[in-house]
């Protein structure tokens, strides 16, 4: 019921019962957890619960016609929150399109993600400010952007000086499906030959829409980079502490000039690929139940309770989740559709006569009809297949 290669060793720091326990070979990762304080653990849980609640609310909003599409990340919260906090505050993140959890670790406004999936823009947050780059929908393309960015850090001497104010690294996120794309292989190659300060973070959620991971690979994914010169490690993707520690260690190493690493986080996509998907057509409910029992939030809650965290905290988190859901719902309903100019603005940085001409024409045409009034899409908005 698990993936066929589930016997492969992986870094795990929390047992299924939430006990902190590290095998001897993972001592260096465990050491990074010992440096954390209770506030850090609470932050991890708070954000995992927050993104779970947000995710469920977004799915509901899509069902009510308030979004064109939603891409749930339910089940992947530990992989995303853990790794997101393992990234340094000034490092750059190149996500795919399901990294809502990583986004909140770098302060991205969740409404900007809603806006994109509502169909009001294509992303639109400022990657220079958030250091969390735009969602990439064509699989694997962002890995090359990350690698180019990391090459630039090398050229600028922002790697391996030992000065924490100076040194930077880059992380790119992608899924098991994307590993089949040539861009991922090319990114491994450029990263290895340029010894870039970079982590490749593969969330193996075991399904690429309806294709199980065996469709994409004959070897465990963490080994995919070896032939290019990018060493890999597998981590339990439902263990937030392991995801944090492994990401932090290899981002620190990258910043220190030790080159790129591939991290495979073994997790599971509990929900559908997108709101247009129907997983009951291609996978057993028993498999889903098996993974639901390995829910990363449940495991980390057990850990916190073992640490003596009381019910008050969990009540507070739940209340905060309800408040977030209400805010997201209200902000979504209040979100104005874009003006027509948005279609033409920023196609180029400098004016292009064809675009200017067409914009002026459409403005005049709409004016002749009484002016363009942005509308709010209703329940009849068209459903489409969306991303893979």
């Amino acid at each position: 019921m698990t993936s066929p290669d589930s016997e492969i060793p992986m870094v795990q720091l929390l047992t299924l019962d939430g006990e902190f326990s590290a095998a001897r070979e993972y001592a260096e990762y465990a050491e990074l957890i010992r440096e954390l304080r209770e506030a850090d653990f609470l932050k991890f849980y708070r954000d995992m619960a927050r993104i779970r609640r947000f995710d469920n609310e977004a799915t509901a909003l899509q069902r009510q016609g308030q979004m064109g599409l939603w891409v749930p990340a339910v089940g992947q919260e530990a992989a995303q929150i853990g790794s997101g906090y393992g990234v340094g505050p000034n490092d750059h993140i190149f996500p795919s399109y399901r990294e809502h959890g990583v986004a909140i670790t770098h302060g991205v406004d969740l409404m900007s993600i809603v806006k994109m999936y509502r169909g009001a823009n294509h992303g639109g947050w400022n990657p220079h400010e958030t250091r969390f780059h735009l969602y990439a929908i064509v699989l694997g393309t962002q890995a090359l952007h990350a690698t180019g960015y990391a090459m630039g850090l090398n050229f600028e001497g922002r790697v391996g000086t030992g000065d924490p104010e100076n040194d930077l690294a880059v992380i790119t996120y992608f899924g098991d499906g994307a590993t089949a794309e040539g861009d991922i292989s090319e990114a491994f190659l450029f990263a290895a030959t340029h010894n870039t300060p970079q982590v490749f973070f593969c969330q193996n959620n075991q399904w690429a829409i309806s294709s199980p991971v065996g469709t994409q690979t004959k070897v465990p994914l963490y080994k995919r980079g070896e032939g290019f010169g990018v060493p890999g490690i597998r981590v339990d993707g439902n263990d937030v502490l392991a995801c944090y520690a492994v990401t932090k260690k290899h981002m620190d190493d990258a910043r220190g000039g030790k080159g790129p690493t591939l991290i495979e986080a073994l997790t599971y996509r509990i929900g559908a690929h997108t709101t247009s998907d129907d997983p009951s057509k291609y996978r057993d409910s028993a498999e889903v139940e098996y993974w639901k029992a390995r829910d990363p939030l449940i495991r980390f809650e057990k850990f916190l309770r073992n640490q003596g965290v009381g019910q008050d905290f969990f009540d507070e988190v739940e209340a905060a989740g309800d408040q977030l859901a209400t805010e997201v719902r209200e902000a979504t309903f209040a979100m104005a559709d874009p003006e027509l100019e948005m279609m033409f603005d920023h196609v180029y940085s400098e004016p292009h006569p064809l675009i200017e001409e067409q914009k002026a024409w459409l403005q005049g045409y709409e004016e002749s009809l009484g002016g363009h009034t942005p509308e709010t899409p209703g329940d009849d908005s068209v459903s489409y297949g969306g991303t893979r």
Binding site: N121, H122, G123, G124, W125, N126, P127, H128, E129, H133, L134, V138, T141, A143, L144, H145, A146, T147, G148, Y149, A150, M151, G152, L153, F155, E156, G182, D183, E186, A187, L189, F190, T193, M342, D345, H346, V347, Y348, S349, E350, H352, P353, L354, I355
Partner: protein, 327 residues
Amino acid sequence: MSNMVELSIAKAINAGIRKAMQENDKVLVFGEDVARLGGVFRVTEGLLDEFGEKRIFNSPIAESGIVGTAIGLAMRGFRPIAEIQFDGFIYPAFDQIVSQLAKLTNRSEGFLQMPVVIRVPYGGGIGAVEHHSESPEAYFAHTAGLRVISPSNANDAYWMIQQAIKSPDPVMFFEPKRRYWQKGQVDLDQAPIDMHSAVTLRAGSDVTIATYGPMVVTALQAAEIAAQEGINIEVIDIRSMSPIDFGHIAESVKKTGRLIVTHEAGTFVSISSEIAARIAELCFYYLEAPVIRVGGFDVPYPAAKLEELYLPDADRLMEAVDRVLAY
């Protein structure tokens, strides 16, 4: 006062890149074999010695990787010049060019600029094997977010490459490979005009020929032949395929009433299709004849022994001149 030197188109591009690299240390050059060898056409020869391997370096033979990493470097604030070794090798990079490079400024609502230049030696006439003689410019002119230009002479080559490097938008820079060794006077001090303006290279009153890149020389040859027959041909080098300076072409057509558009690429859904359609709109009452397109045929670029039959030459242009004058 002007500082004129004679250079081939290849050397002029080299000099233009060198100047841009001297002026701005964010300008990088990379691609297949561009460093020690100087590229298969030697366009980047000598740059490695002057600028070192952090500014010019060989990339793996992976075109998508070349363009994808150029995008990442641009995000970091660099101004990459990526070379695609031959026209027919650009397709592995098509997604990174069309879906990423061209769209990232729009996707980010202007937060990201993409000052990337992609240099592409293009066109036929050198007796090459398959995939080394193609003219893929229309694919890119069709793509919103890209700027597409091609110089036809050494002076333009020197200035247009520098203008492309300074552009905050991605520029597809198509280099007419069979004209690489064509020499011309280069004014090192004074840029002619902006890279998207068309220019009239020969004035005439009877027929306008609009073209770009490698076919400019051919059009001028045809005009010379026509002159001996008492036909005055106006030759326009459009220089830019996106945007196209339709106003300049229209002004000429309003005078001559007849337009021929020529390029090496096949004419079906091509740059000449677009010019014909636009000029029909802009000059409907001035046209004495339909716009005639003279291009390659709509077949895969043929084997070298057939390329003379494929490529438009001055005689094929004269045949078209006769046709437009028959109306």
